[in-house]
């Protein structure tokens, strides 16, 4: 390393950091100490308590404030003379366009979600700015360098496919605790407290066919809350299970579940037991938010509750939602930082688990599964940040022969804990950085344009504001700047069947889709197919030549639901990711596999890692794990 030229390169550099979380705090500090003096930093998040164990620029008093701004102020205390420009914003906002990216010499990612990573990758490719990408999960992490034309782009390699569960496993035949969590969170919680207009696959057996018009989940006008809670309990854990048992075929080769009614779980008069909050109430302090645990005197989140305690928590939490948070019910979305929601989901999942003979779990463990919480420690983030800066300096010096992707391992492989690997060359068939067309198999006679736009163009290809052309005819465009008549026309097209569009989409048609903000354009060749397997091909269409991630889905009827979804980009430090070892590479990543334990470590309970055939690396946080998020959903904060 020629010190003088490193110093010059650092001094002259203008760098963009995306993410001021676990990796971001460490990175900003190390950049400042290393002499970087013009740093821009984007982060949309605000500070939470669970960040404080590793995001060392933040203190208790900063909870609720912008990460980017507080990080800037903290670093200026020890490097007052440098320039740090914070943006409390989403990197996907239109202000961060290609021109914005072009002003930087290098972009450094400390992100926690795939969506934003892909977006930044595209902007860096379009602006021709080198990108240093990173992720951590527990003791594992990786740093990769992406320079257009020299190394692969972030999307050249297939990303691990998050675990998805067949609908019927969730609704009828759970065999693992995670299945019960998904049921409790995405079906029951959503049904009771979420948007009533959303499709929901919760099995509802009505006691009486003639009354099937009335929704059993609807609370009758003057129904007592305790009675209502008990009625829901008996219905979902008792009656529904009993009804399901009637289907002999299902249970031929399976253990039969036990229906559970209140009278079984809480034999000593449940009505009296439930809600006797005053018995246990901690009188010294009124909890700032309602909690069934506090009401019931349950204190240890690490403890596994009995069926009776789970039942009490279920009834109490349900009651508290309607009593104390009634305004929110009807539009709640599960959030792992919502204590009452976590309590409800833990209890409901455990009761269902008891029914199906699945081991029960503590609230702490259930929260981890439900929130898809990535394991994170300060040390790995610090190490990864150091490695990012080392690569960034090489990039600034144009020292491309020495670019490395580096893996931080938990168990040494060939004596190494930090293992550098030569970067891969660009993948010639990558739809993002090369112009290889994709192939979409779809039933052109039954599929609406909307489905292609939502499921393929936005979700799979990760486009933000796409435009769709059939030949030279523009059939759809997204964005705010449209004329009203144009917008109306596109809205109309969205609801049309592909074959009936003004420029019909048939077998052999070529679609051109483009996102101006990302400056990404690709071609999709359409191949007509009549039938799709509803379990294996739940989208009702298959995209080939695409190596991106697959959304986790619960449903088979075309509605996409992330499972179990991270409630947002929050608190993950980025994920370590899986990169497949490709044949013919100078150095195969499977050398890393010398120690198989490195992989096992990645197989954390949230099933984030796809398979041990793939190589280390991603998300924890940070990677080996991908988190999918519903892009429209964003982070839902409770109003209080």
């Amino acid at each position: 390393m020629a010190a003088a030229s490193s110093e010059e390169a650092i001094k002259a550099a203008k760098v963009l950091m995306v993410g001021a979380g676990g990796i971001g705090c460490e990175l900003l500090k190390t950049l400042a100490l290393s002499g970087f003096s013009d740093i821009h930093i984007i982060d949309l998040d605000t500070i939470e308590v669970s960040n404080l164990n590793r995001q060392f620029l933040f203190r208790q008093s900063h909870v609720g404030q912008s990460k980017a701004k507080v990080a800037r102020d903290a670093v200026l205390k020890f490097r007052p003379n440098i320039s740090i420009t914070p943006y409390h914003a989403n990197v996907k906002d239109s202000q961060f366009n290609v021109d914005f990216f072009k002003q930087f010499n290098v972009v450094l990612n400390g992100l926690d979600n795939l969506d934003a990573r892909r977006h930044v990758n595209r902007l860096c490719l379009a602006a021709e700015v080198p990108l240093v990408e990173s992720g951590t999960t527990g003791f594992l992490g990786q740093v990769t360098v992406h320079v257009k034309g020299k190394t692969e782009c972030y999307e050249c390699q297939p990303k691990p496919v998050p675990k998805s569960y067949p609908v019927c496993t969730i609704t009828s035949t759970p065999s693992k605790f995670v299945h019960c969590i998904v049921w409790a969170k995405d079906l029951l919680f959503a049904k009771l407290f979420g948007d009533k207009n959303q499709d929901n696959d919760l099995n509802v057996h009505s006691k009486d066919d003639s009354s099937s018009k009335t929704d059993v989940f609807e609370r009758n006008l003057d129904e007592d809350l305790k009675k209502y809670a008990q009625r829901i309990y008996d219905h979902v854990f008792g009656y529904n299970i009993e009804a399901a048992l009637g289907n002999e075929e299902t249970w031929r080769n399976r253990r039969r579940p036990n229906p559970i009614y209140i009278r079984d779980a809480l034999p000593e008069d449940a009505v009296q037991q439930n809600g006797c909050s005053q018995d246990h109430k901690n009188e010294e302090q009124e909890p700032s938010e309602p909690s069934a645990m506090v009401s019931l005197g349950l204190r240890n989140p690490q403890e596994i509750w009995s069926l009776a305690d789970n039942s009490r928590v279920f009834l109490e939490a349900l009651k508290l939602f309607f009593e104390k948070r009634e305004k929110e019910t009807g539009n709640l979305i599960f959030d792992k930082d919502d204590q009452l929601a976590v309590e409800f989901v833990t209890a409901a999942a455990n009761i269902r688990a008891s029914s199906f003979g699945i081991p029960l779990h503590s609230l702490f463990e259930a929260k981890g599964v439900a929130g898809n919480i990535v394991h994170a420690v300060a040390t790995t983030n610090a190490i990864i940040a150091g490695l990012i800066v080392i690569e960034a300096i090489k990039v600034l010096k144009g020292d491309y022969q020495n670019y490395r992707m580096t893996y931080c391992l938990e168990h040494p492989s060939r004596k190494m804990l930090l293992m550098p690997v030569e970067p891969f060359e660009p993948n010639k068939s990558c739809y993002v950085c090369s112009e290889t067309p994709l192939v979409l198999e779809v039933n052109t006679k039954t599929t609406k344009l909307r489905e292609v736009v939502e499921k393929v163009i936005k979700s799979k290809l990760g486009m933000n504001l796409p435009l769709v052309m059939v030949g030279a005819t523009l059939v759809f465009e997204d964005g705010d700047g449209l004329e009203p008549d144009e917008a109306a026309n596109y809205a109309l097209n969205l609801e049309k069947i592909l074959a009936e569009l003004p420029a019909p989409v048939l077998n052999g048609t070529k679609l051109t889709v483009e996102d101006f903000q990302q400056e990404l354009k690709c071609s999709i060749n359409i191949k007509h197919r009549d039938e799709f397997d509803t379990e294996k091909e739940p989208d009702g269409m298959v995209l080939a030549g695409w190596s991106g991630p697959v959304d986790k889905q619960v449903t088979s009827n075309g509605e996409k639901k992330p499972v179990p979804s991270a409630s947002s980009t929050e608190d993950l430090d980025g994920t370590a990711e899986d990169t497949s070892a490709k044949p013919g590479m100078k150095r195969k990543l499977n050398e890393i596999l010398e120690s198989k334990e490195n992989f096992d470590a990645l197989q954390n309970p949230s099933d984030v890692v796809s398979s041990s055939a793939q190589v280390v690396d991603d998300d924890e946080d940070d990677d080996l794990v991908m988190f999918d998020e519903d892009p429209k959903q964003g982070k839902k904060k409770r109003s209080q």
């Binding site: 390393m1 010190a3 989140p301 394991h375 994170a376 300060a378 080392i390 930090l418």
Partner: protein, 332 residues
Amino acid sequence: MDGGGAGAGAEGELTAQETALYDRQIRVWGVDAQKRLSKAHVLVCGMNGTTIEFCKNIVLAGVGSLSLMDDHIVTEDDLNANFLIPPDESIYGGRSRAEVCCESLKDFNPMVRVSVEKGDPSLIDGQFLDKFDTVVVSRASLKTKLFINDSCRKRNKHIAFYAIDCKDSCGEIFVDLQEHSYVQKKPGGETEQQQLTYPSLQEAISVLWNGLPRKMTKLYFAMRVLENYELSEGRSPGETTLSDMPAVLARMKDMCDKMSFNESQIPAPLMERLLSAGKKEHPPVCAILGGILGQEVIKSISYKGDTIKNFFYFDAADGKGVIENISPNSAN
């Protein structure tokens, strides 16, 4: 997370406050490790860019207490790789490195006791060491390192010893856990009890070089030459420049001859890099070394996970972070 019953922790249980703060890391190492960590006492001798990274990491992780020993008055040179010292002479002027760093570190985690121990590490009293479970020494002379390591070993209680140094873009960590047993996770998920026996620093550096594996990192040899040279010249660690090169090469030849070791195995350019580094620390390398050491100390305190035996090296020039086992019984 509120509602878990603030302050409700029964004897031996983590409080709700601790559970909320340490949530993400408990998911990595478990509640038992967190409890052990909160009862551990760590001493750090020598405050610099590398040790403050380590201190930050274990304070955030929730170690029981951290004591800092470094009576040197802060100078402008100390500001380089240090984010704990505000660059304002009215704040640091006339105060010791330990005092100024302590003040900043206290702020990082109100649940950790951070304090200053005055004194000279080279004169540490054995009994004083009994207050600690882990001792970290940085930028100390070979003589001081050997003395403290030996003192730790002579105590009745088990005291883990670490030495850590950063020379610009290169770094070294030495680990002596004496007898260390821990739980190792096997590929299938089951666990196995492991037992490691560590040599002392004296025993490790006495292993003859010609008996070591050929693929050893060259940094090991270069660091031994450098500390040997500094000791014989009566210099403080890092008090070297390129002008020392001829004398250092002579010392190197001398040491190689004594151990029938081919001196061409120690590249002169590497020796040059270390000499010209002086006391300079490259901040990204400090972050990496301080991160690795933080992790190691957490592993040894919690008896969980593979610990390094017994040297770790990082060199930004090749990007490798390598473990070398240099023990009398493993040398051949």
